[in-house]
Symmetry: C2
Subunit: 172 residues, 2 copies
DNA sequence: GTCTATACCCCGATAGAC
DNA sequence: GTCTATCGGGGTATAGAC
């Protein structure tokens, strides 16, 4: 799904790729394609949340952490030829009409923003400013990842990291 | 396509919505769905380019122009219940495997970045910095638009405009 | 639990009458 | 140019043997 989106990815294809049979897939995901997608979104929410937390814990400032995150994303995307992106972004725009899917994507974004906002508050930024900055940090990373995939190059992510660090620097 | 993405939008549905018959659609778009999508992307490239240019011409600074753009996007999205977003973003992630589609989306993004970069240079920013800032401006607007659609609220776009103005202000 | 076969539907695309 | 009918294929989901 992170490669072709929600509608473009068939369950038969997923089963083949996972070396499972179609019957097994429906045995473990009785809710069908939608349940599979919701599971994938929840998994991605956790996975990228951990990258965010790890970067924020390792680096000396939130700004430096966002630069590190952007670089990590660029390296990850480059490794498979810029094909596998963020499954939340990829599915979100196709499923805006489905409340369950839209809310799951919204929860993932909100979770990531919460991690960033908490780190900013710990770094001395006011609560209201931190919440606002978290919106822009996550949105810019998502947009830059999309741009990097379309261009098949890391530049958009690298400059996004740099500019986010600069922006956060004006608040500390 | 800006509502459900590329794969989720059938040609039959498009024909019905346009009060045309399937035969007419294929008469005017012999290349089928792909040609239709490429036409839609080119149209969107022009349309949003004009919004960018108009904002940059009217406002007193590039930063103020980006705030105006973000507000205009939020108003546009709110008008139809946050359903119709950017067709380039919506199709890009589904069609990364098709070079023609990927390059068309890349051209749209590059065109928009060029408009922003030119305005920044005219405002006194160095060429290299302007090109980099344009990446972040367009990526942040795309990401914020996606976030706003998922949340069904304008906040992500409003704060993106504010932060972009602040970021650009540190370069002028 | 795992598998095959299949029901049922809608997809993109085309053919050919008018 | 406009329309209807249809083709071939793939989609999701289910039934039922093992």
């Amino acid at each position: 799904m992170q490669r072709q989106g929600y509608e473009g990815t068939g369950i038969k294809l997923i089963a083949r790729e996972a070396k499972a049979t179609l019957g097994s897939v429906y045995h473990f995901f009785p809710g069908g394609k939608k349940e599979l997608a919701l599971t994938a979104i929840a998994f991605s929410e956790k996975e990228f949340g951990e990258l965010l937390s790890a970067s924020l814990a390792q680096e000396s400032s939130p700004g430096a952490a966002m630069e590190a995150c952007a670089r990590a994303l660029a390296d990850y995307l480059a490794a498979d030829g810029w094909a596998d992106g963020c499954p939340v972004t990829a599915t979100a725009l196709e499923t805006l009409g489905d409340d369950d899917m839209r809310e799951a994507c919204g929860r993932a974004f909100a979770h990531w923003r919460g991690i960033v906002a908490d780190a900013l508050v710990k770094g001395g930024v006011g609560k209201a400013d931190a919440a606002e900055l978290a919106y822009t940090v996550i949105a810019a990373l998502e947009g830059a990842e999309l741009t990097a995939q379309v261009a098949r190059g890391p530049e958009a992510l690298h400059v996004a990291g740099k500019h986010l660090a600069r922006l956060l620097g004006t608040y500390a």
